[in-house]
Amino acid sequence: MTTPDASGNHPGSPITIDEVRHVAELARLAMSDAELEACRSELVSILGHIATIDGVNVEGVAPMAHAIDMSNRLSEDVPGDSLAVEEVLANAPAVEDRFIAVPKVLDPGDGA
């Protein structure tokens, strides 16, 4: 499993700080340069151990995403009680009227 895959990435190659920064962006985690570097060396160590699964022959084995084999279960579409709006909003960090307030999502200049 150390051959590059279709995208050209090479699982066996060292992780660069740029890759770690990219992953942090994907994960929406703001981290300082020092934190990114610490994270890089931890990832190298943990992925080094994870590489032990490369030694297992998995040819022809179907991936198993779940502990039990089950297909989608359908339930009757029955209306039921739901949480009170006030109770839900009580946990929101910023509220206006009966809505959760967020910073501007769309820039007024983009024609939206």
């Binding site: 929406r28 985690l29 943990i46 998995v58 198993m64 502990a67 039990i68």
Partner: protein, 496 residues
């Protein structure tokens, strides 16, 4: 009352009005007031809500009602399970202000069985850790030696029962988070089969691995709590739709002829010598009870941690995306010129602790373009092989035995390298990966630097094999006295 009593004794006394549910609750709260300053097992207690529950139980008993098998029994709840009217912090700054808007299914079921849920126990942040050191509000201390961890992530739930604060508690187990702290604290900890207990209201970490289960002082008590919480739930479509069985029925049936597998891989030379001695002593006890000890092999034990640290973080990175500072949880004050991306990234970066960030990063990495096949898909293939390996071995034996952990409790702050901590779960993760059930029970002590540190024996059984599992556990317990020993909290309080 002795807070070290069992559920059956306590519920019996409450049912016959020898004692009130309110008095049982007050005894627990009093014991927590007196000793939990040393242990820190509770994040909060909710005396008012619990007193109202206990009073209602007493009134119903006075009126001649049968209030259920857990009549008036105070039960502590891990702080990653929602309990209406109380905080649920998951040990995280990001949920420090969160108030649970509803009760988890297990809370409803405990109430229906007459129990009195009364407080929230500390855990590693979002249940990620093996020592409850990664609780943002401070670590939990092991009641047997307060300089050591209680295990994790359900360390508060394990320590609370070990300290005698309550007869039982609820935890969650994603890779060993019930069994490992049970082992390190000298109590019984049961991880039921995946899907046996509803996860509705459990803050999700790895939804294909997570399972809720009980801590108790005895196997029978663990079975009583399982009986109350097990079963299908319309709110959790991954619950198993076959009805829960009678988990108490077979408990006292002799195990003559039961085949107990001892995997060679479980008596690893890397284990603490006291751990291997404990397993060998357990083998002799089981032989004496007429069980057949079968030599088996589980070679994929060695790749369990590697597989788990792909699947668990992958699922966690996706699940924890919901904590974005928008609908609930901590939100940073927006800086000048900052947009929504910065709000998400800074709220998460500042709200999550180091271990949670590490797992989100690892999970995001193994799921990212170019690495998915090499890591995630491959781990899922190994997962199937691990399940097959268990299925094959359970053709040769009814139950597996071995140590729960490779060593007794470690010192708080001593495992600084994440990987060394991950390897503590070497014997427990594969049960989650395969979805089978497992239990840890008190099986001996290691004498370390003048302290007795508990050691746990782990038994595992096939999916839905709880009856056999608990029977094998109960027969060991009936022939040993490790579970009768309790830590000396007065001595601990003086030391600290």
């Amino acid at each position: 009352m002795s807070t070290h009593g069992t559920i059956s004794e306590l519920a019996g006394r409450i049912r016959t009005r020898e004692m009130t549910a309110v008095a049982a609750l007050e005894a627990c709260l009093g014991s927590i007031d007196r000793y939990d300053g040393t242990i820190s097992s509770f994040q909060c207690t909710s005396a008012d809500i619990a007193r109202a529950r206990a009073e209602a139980i007493d009134r119903r008993i006075d009126a001649g009602e049968d209030v259920g098998p857990l009549a008036g029994v105070p039960i502590a709840i891990k702080d990653n399970i929602v309990t209406r009217g109380e905080p649920t912090t998951c040990g995280s700054r990001i949920l420090e202000q969160f108030q649970s808007p509803y009760d988890a299914t297990v809370i409803h079921r405990l109430n229906d069985a007459g129990a009195v849920p009364f407080g929230k126990t500390r855990c590693d942040e979002f249940a990620m850790g093996s020592g409850t050191e990664y609780c943002a509000f401070g670590p939990v201390h092991n009641p047997w030696d307060t300089s050591r961890v209680p295990g994790g992530s359900s360390g508060g739930s394990a320590a609370a029962v070990a300290a005698g604060f309550c007869p039982a508690s609820i935890g969650s187990d994603t890779g060993g988070s019930i069994r490992q702290p049970a082992s390190l604290c000298g109590v019984v900890g049961l991880k039921p089969t995946y899907g046996r207990v509803s996860r509705y209201g459990l803050v999700s970490f790895g939804p294909s691995l997570d399972q809720i289960g009980p801590f108790a002082r005895t196997v029978e008590d663990a079975a009583l709590v399982l009986q109350a919480i097990a079963g299908e739930d319309v709110h959790d479509s991954t619950t198993i739709d076959t009805p829960a069985e009678d988990y108490l029925k077979d408990l006292h049936v002799p195990i003559d002829g039961l085949r107990i597998g001892l995997p060679r891989e479980y008596l690893d030379a890397g284990n603490d010598p006291a751990v291997n001695d404990m397993v060998n002593a357990a083998v002799e006890i089981y032989r004496g009870l007429g069980a057949e000890i079968v030599d088996v092999q589980l070679p994929l034990t060695d790749v369990g941690i590697a597989t788990y640290y792909v699947i668990g973080p992958a699922e966690a990175s996706s699940n924890l995306a919901r904590f974005d500072g928008i609908r609930y949880g901590r939100r940073v004050a927006p800086g000048a010129g900052e947009g929504l991306f910065d709000l998400y990234a800074r709220s998460r970066g500042e709200g999550f602790g180091a271990e949670v960030r590490r797992r989100i990063m690892l999970g995001t990495y193994v799921l990212s373009a170019g690495y998915y096949d090499a890591y995630y898909k491959r781990a899922l293939q190994v997962r199937r092989l691990i399940r097959r390996e268990f299925e094959d071995v359970f053709q040769q034996c009814d139950v597996l035995m071995g140590p729960t952990t490779p060593a007794p409790a470690f010192r708080i702050g001593s495992l600084t390298d994440p990987l060394s901590m991950y390897l503590c779960d070497r014997y427990t993760v594969n049960a989650n990966i395969a979805g089978i059930c497992g239990v840890s029970l008190p099986a001996g002590f290691a004498e370390v630097e003048g302290r007795s540190l508990p050691l746990g024996l782990q038994l595992q059984a096939p999916a839905l094999g709880e009856r056999t599992l608990l029977r094998a556990a109960r027969m060991f317990e009936a022939n040993t006295d490790h579970h009768d020993r309790t830590p000396d909290l007065d001595a601990m309080a003086m030391d600290s």
